[in-house]
Symmetry: C3
Subunit: 636 residues, 3 copies
């Protein structure tokens, strides 16, 4: 497939007279897609039932006539003021019970039936108008579910819906009391009507209660999205997409993705590094103009899985953003690099956000491809370069050799019970991902529902809450497996299983006890590196001991369990050895240089702010140096 570019556009922000010129300039730049409509409700329906399609009709016509394919967004992330007047209790409440009201965006509770009906209604009306419009080539549902911590709501509507959800899950209150262990601290309920949400407790609530509330909250997002998808299915044949947000874990993206055709995400590398990274300050300084070299790739791989192979970048940072603590300019070339990196991971399309920087309201300091005065911003030229380079390229992902299991429930569970201040599921999995990437590997993210692991030579499973469906897949699997720490240490109800974990197929081991560690007290390992933050005392056949004599890794060379959170050095060594065992060739990539294989092509991507000699670090690479912010690709 030829990589395609596009852009996000808001015709309602600009005089109609400017639309044709904008459209022509998009086409001239080499853009093929334009996303519109997702925040336009107040212009489509300024009062209840007072529908104003005409301007949007004309905008679609102008864009389509110019040769652009349109992604139409349902406008449900920003209900207008009158919707909120009609449904004054439609807002989410935060954990303190404070309303999260009108005045920005995402001001609705997923459990509010009245608002859900409004969302379906406007979706239906929009789809009726544009479902068969030839220029509309894809649909986006809502916008960035979960952004601004909007999945969890402590509203009355959520409480009511949670009780119903619990009743459906457990059938009777005794089963719930057993699953949560409510005999502890006399927390037993007599009926479902006695259950409240797990906020405003004196000390921490029951983690099983929290986990179920997270599951419920995630299911409410799935249900909200499904309601829109069902309406759209009736009225259009175009593919359905949602644009997920980076490091947003409060709902199960795999489950939302099951109702859609294509996954996409909104990629803001510099904002994410400043605002959502666990890396030390020196790292953030070093990559402040490039972004974390692995963060985008990790999400690309997640959404390739969520989309079952079909995925986009729906919003691509073009220059400084407005929402991180610091918002620097990207290095020249990054707007091109980020797009190529997405294509190297199999993206069908990359859309820059946004066409022209808005001069007003919340995002007026967020750059676009054009400045507010319509002069080209630096990213416009980079986009044109990508379009030209991509014109004759055909890329198709054919699968990676390594599978890394990623599970939203585990993130919720360990968030409910970190046990150590640094224990964060995303951070743990991302550490493993970074180590694999430094070894030059291409990676497939795999959900825990995966039942066949045979496509991969190696499977890596850090911190999985419980085995679930994966257990039988593992039993049938013949490749190399690296699991742990903390993997399968709980039941699905978030209790400690008896016999105690990990109960890992092929590994006879029991975790006797665990400890969380201060950052200044790492555990030295015999073969180099340390365990940090987390370590387990494991009974089993030791592959390597820690200096204090407890096993650090147990099992066999082809199926091992890690009894702690390895630091970068240890992780590199352990995974390199596992790759050897799996007959996977590895590299040792220098800082910021990354490799991704797609089909017959190998891409090299340089996030460093220095050049590297490619052939020195990557066997078979072309000679010559790769500049900072540059990309190189060749047939392997």
């Amino acid at each position: 497939m030829k990589p395609q570019l596009g852009v996000c556009y808001y015709p309602e922000h600009w005089p109609e007279a400017q639309w044709p010129d904008d459209a022509a300039r998009m086409v001239e730049t080499g853009l093929e897609w334009v996303r519109i409509g997702e925040f336009a409700w107040s212009r489509l329906e300024p009062n209840e039932g007072d529908l104003r399609w005409e301007w949007l009709d004309r905008a679609v016509e102008v864009l389509g006539a110019a040769g652009l394919k349109v992604v139409m967004g349902t406008p449900t992330a920003t209900p207008p003021r009158w919707v909120c007047e009609k449904h004054p209790d439609m807002f989410a409440l935060d954990a303190n019970g404070h309303v999260r009201g009108f005045g920005s965006r995402r001001h609705y509770c997923f459990s509010h039936e009245g608002y859900c009906a409004e969302a379906v209604r406007i979706t239906r009306l929009t789809a009726e108008r544009y479902g068969r419009n030839p220029h509309i080539a894809a649909w986006q549902t809502d916008n960035e579910y979960g952004c601004h911590d909007t999945v969890i709501s402590y509203s009355d509507a959520a409480c009511t819906a949670f009780r119903i959800w619990l009743e459906q899950r457990y059938g009777n209150i005794g089963a719930l009391n057993d699953a949560w262990g409510n005999v502890f601290w006399s927390m037993e309920y007599r009926h479902f009507g006695e259950v409240f949400l797990p906020n405003l407790t004196v000390t921490e609530p029951n983690p099983s209660h929290v986990l179920d509330f997270q599951r419920f909250s995630s299911d409410q997002v799935v249900q909200f999205n499904r309601a829109q998808a069902e309406v759209l299915r009736e009225l259009t044949d175009a593919p359905l997409i949602h644009n997920y947000m980076g490091r947003t874990l409060e709902f199960d993206h795999f489950k939302v993705g099951d109702d859609l055709d294509v996954a996409s995400w909104d990629s803001y590398p510099l904002g994410f590094l400043e605002d959502r990274s666990d890396q030390p300050e020196a790292f953030k300084q070093q990559f402040a103009r490039q972004g974390d070299p692995d963060f985008q790739a990790f999400h690309h791989d997640i959404y390739r899985a969520v989309g079952k192979g079909r995925w986009w970048v729906m919003e691509q940072q073009p220059g400084p953003v407005n929402w991180a603590p610091h918002n620097p300019d990207p290095l020249p070339g990054m707007a091109r690099l980020w797009a190529w990196e997405a294509f190297a991971h199999g993206a069908e399309a990359v859309l820059y956000f946004r066409w022209r920087q808005a001069p007003m309201a919340q995002e007026q300091m967020h750059s676009g491809l054009l400045r507010p005065d319509s002069v080209a911003a630096p990213a416009l030229g980079e986009a044109a370069q990508v379009a030209a380079e991509a014109a004759h390229l055909d890329l198709a992902d054919t699968g990676a050799p390594v599978a890394l299991v990623f599970d939203y429930e585990s993130a919720w569970a360990w968030n409910a019970q970190p046990q150590g201040a640094e224990f964060d599921y995303f951070r743990l999995v991302f550490d493993f991902y970074k180590a694999l990437r430094k070894l030059g590997l291409s990676i497939d993210i795999v959900p825990p529902s995966c039942t066949d692991l045979s496509p991969w030579q190696m499977v890596v499973i850090p911190g999985l809450l419980h085995w679930g469906a994966l257990k039988s897949a593992l039993e049938a699997y013949e490749g190399v497996v690296v699991a742990g720490p903390r993997t399968a240490s709980k039941t699905a109800d978030m209790q400690i299983p008896i016999p105690m974990g990990p109960n890992m197929p092929g590994v006879d081991a029991t975790v006797a006890r665990v400890e969380s560690l201060r950052p200044d007290m790492p555990i030295m390992l015999d073969q180099g590196g340390t365990f940090q933050f987390w370590r387990e005392v494991v009974e089993g056949r030791s592959l390597e001991d820690a200096r204090d004599g407890h096993p650090a890794r147990v099992g066999t060379a082809r199926r091992q369990y890690l009894a702690g959170w390895p630091d970068e050095r240890a992780l590199h060594r352990i995974l390199a050895d596992a790759c050897d065992e799996a007959s996977l060739p590895t590299l040792d990539l220098p800082e910021g240089l990354r490799v991704r294989d797609i089909g017959a092509w190998r891409f090299a991507i340089n996030y460093a702010n220095r050049a590297w000699k490619l052939s020195k670090h990557i066997e078979g690479a072309p000679s010559g140096r790769i500049a900072p912010a540059d990309v190189s690709w060749w047939l392997k």
Copy 2:
């Protein structure tokens, strides 16, 4: 004018038998002014309508008979409990909607009509009683507007008043929607009744919404003060004063000052350094017993502008205070130095706070001129020394050579949209002020409403939101101008102007884009120093480039725009060069030593905890050393 000293006194705190002795001792110390009454409402009117003037009559008589001039305060900053019973919704609400109730002070919402009427009523009663009393030589309205973050209130009363204010400003809701850019995120309103206050939103509210709410909130303070001033004007000829608080920016002091005769402020140098300073910890340690060498001077210069030349220090720290994280003793001599510094900046009077340390309630750990047991505290002797030294001195400010523009709206705007974590308007302007002071300059603070800049040889304009009235003044001005960064980057509605800023008279330049910087990624400048926190990519004639090739300064030597926030070294260099261009002689003062010219006198003030040889650092100074915490003055 001969510098005058005074003190704040609370006769209601002490046995009546002690008053004559206190008054005699004040006079003996050389004090001429005594401020009373501003917290005494519960003693003046213990129940509604039950007025008890007699004790205050006697107190005024005792003080006046001793030869003291009395400042009478209106007691509206501390309404008694019964007022709150009568108006149970008179309290401000914080951003979370929590009431800010009775039990300390400033427990009222400026928008509450019932309380505003009570405040006017007690003001009228007090003025009827004392308006023509010969001992009352000045009036103070309320006390420290805005202290404890009390300007902003999210009460229902504020919401109602805000809607009226908006309707008056915009006339129709369409104009408001355009000004705020509410089409963005479907935030459009159908009528003014749909507008709420900009709190409790899901993510950040519209910055135009926030800015207008700040303007409104400031106007409510102006209106509250004006209502008292109008009553007082009817009933007294004495000058009207308000005592502003340091680094309190939530309302426009210039506008409040327009209704009064004299500006004053409450100067707590050690508390401010510990509690309200952006300086690094090592700086705070070094000046912990002296205060920031420029902080007091900056406020002196602001309030000279607010008072149109007439200004006081209404409360002067005499020893340790009680409200900062750490409350050390001042160096011996500082209570004298601070008073002299105020006089050097043109203060008519300096009143120490307070006469005797109170043994009870919130401020019992706040020192006075006397200890609780009436023994003299160290500051009493220092005050007496100042009084003796001032006896035959005549000081009159005749204007400084440099104007520095300071604008409250800009503080609100950048607070609503900092874009970088360190971007704070006060900090930016104060950095420029400090650099000018280190160059030995005397400075006039100028509001953005200034229409004639001809009195000054140089005008400095950092971070001004938009030009406003200043634009035509600049067009007519022939002196040297240094503006930027961020100056005139917005419209008055807080949108990006087209053409884009700065649109600076005499400078052909456009800011193409901006970036905020991590503190660890400064931009090196070609001629020394760096840009920190903030930098702009500017198109225009470069006077100096940054190392990365972008212009750092554009324009001409006499009219330049700075494309970033210069660090101390760069700022010193740039402003020294500008002074040369303006034919302003400069010094290079060492740490803690400062100079201020007033009329024919030059004052040297030593905040350092070491001595300096004066003539080495200041041409024309007398020979000899200036000790720590000492002051020296001579005829230039």
Copy 3:
């Protein structure tokens, strides 16, 4: 008395079939006590009046029949859901007015009359059932009063009760206004119904108001406990105990203890070091697997005083806990060391918490003597070792040579008015305690109500709010006294006394003023070390000056007042000299090594993670080395 061991057990968590085996294994380990019942309300009374004693009858029988003595807990710390349905306003409110509801534990307001009646009712029912049961050898009231900050409640019930309490204390509102100094800021009340709780004020509330609210809140705990004690006294002759929590200061433990027979506390050395320590990070790292070498001892000594000689450890950490930021494994041997240290301080019994790690709910990551799968955890063997070692030992405390005054009211007062960010009463007293311990001393904690100091050779009094009863005791005392800083600087109403403090018997000195210090500005002392955080300028006969010339210590060698907070070095020197004066022999113990004398025995306890040669550091000690986490004892 022979030291006794025990364990906390939850029969309701385990199948009944497992009880006999558990009981047998406890006995086999050498345990004599088992505590049960304190969280079992929902199983004892699943619906109102539906009492289910049978299972508990059988549990008591199984345990008793095995030879164990049972501690029965009243289950009032965890009222079941139905109690909360019945009393929907029984919850405490936090300072923001947010409810602290059902879903964990301690979800009740001590002032709620309805809940207090429920607590008395279930206590009476339990005592009627088991008061004369021969296996029940002690009773525990409730569980960890004050844990999770549950003493203070801002509920309506608390407000109502506070007004009654104030009326009883002051008689008329004028007396309250005088005591609080309410004339300040017009805070005067007309009647008690106008007083609210000291939350939600604009700036800080009156410290006298806060202090009285703390006294009231403490009294509510005393009253709540007394109500249970009175019921139990009617129905049982077994001793009554409460298990206090470490560093929990919000109520007066001495007063609660007055209604009980035995004091006990819950000792979690590693959790406390991570979560409740003022020590620097390097110290926390060094002792992360051992705990602070003085923290447990300090509490042992407090509760020996609270229990008037009779005290236990009711819950002893056996391995990692679940509630601190980091939860490491103890060093092997610590579960033994901690028990022996308690016995060395006179504990009658030490009960490990808990028997078997629970696989469910909030504490599933909290270790027990057994793993969740019933395999022995490391602490089981250590407990057995202690039991064996203790079998033939007889220990009886006969009093220590040094008294250290500890006062809960002082903690509340300085918390209401720290004046310096680091000023914390516990921290101050604990610094003195640590210094005394490093000198090898055994210490008695003494409440401020002590009227006879003659048992001790030396009395140390840091930071006592006001003298109270202690003044006449001091006047009669002939030993060495070290007092200050801040001691007796206030009246009981929290005003500054006139004459000003300390008004210390035998010391003619006046504190002229005080200052709080940044951590980076210590005051050097002439004889070594510094004052940190706090210093006073004192008039009096100087024993030692600070480098700045002000006296650092005043009085006489046998009765001195310290004019600041000495750092570790200064405190060691000053207290060593005072011991010399008191003819008390001292040691200079190395890091982590501590000594405790009990009767004729001397115990050495090694918290260090290195061994020490005992006889080198402790005269008269046996030869040989003491290993890390080891204990040694010998007849002096």
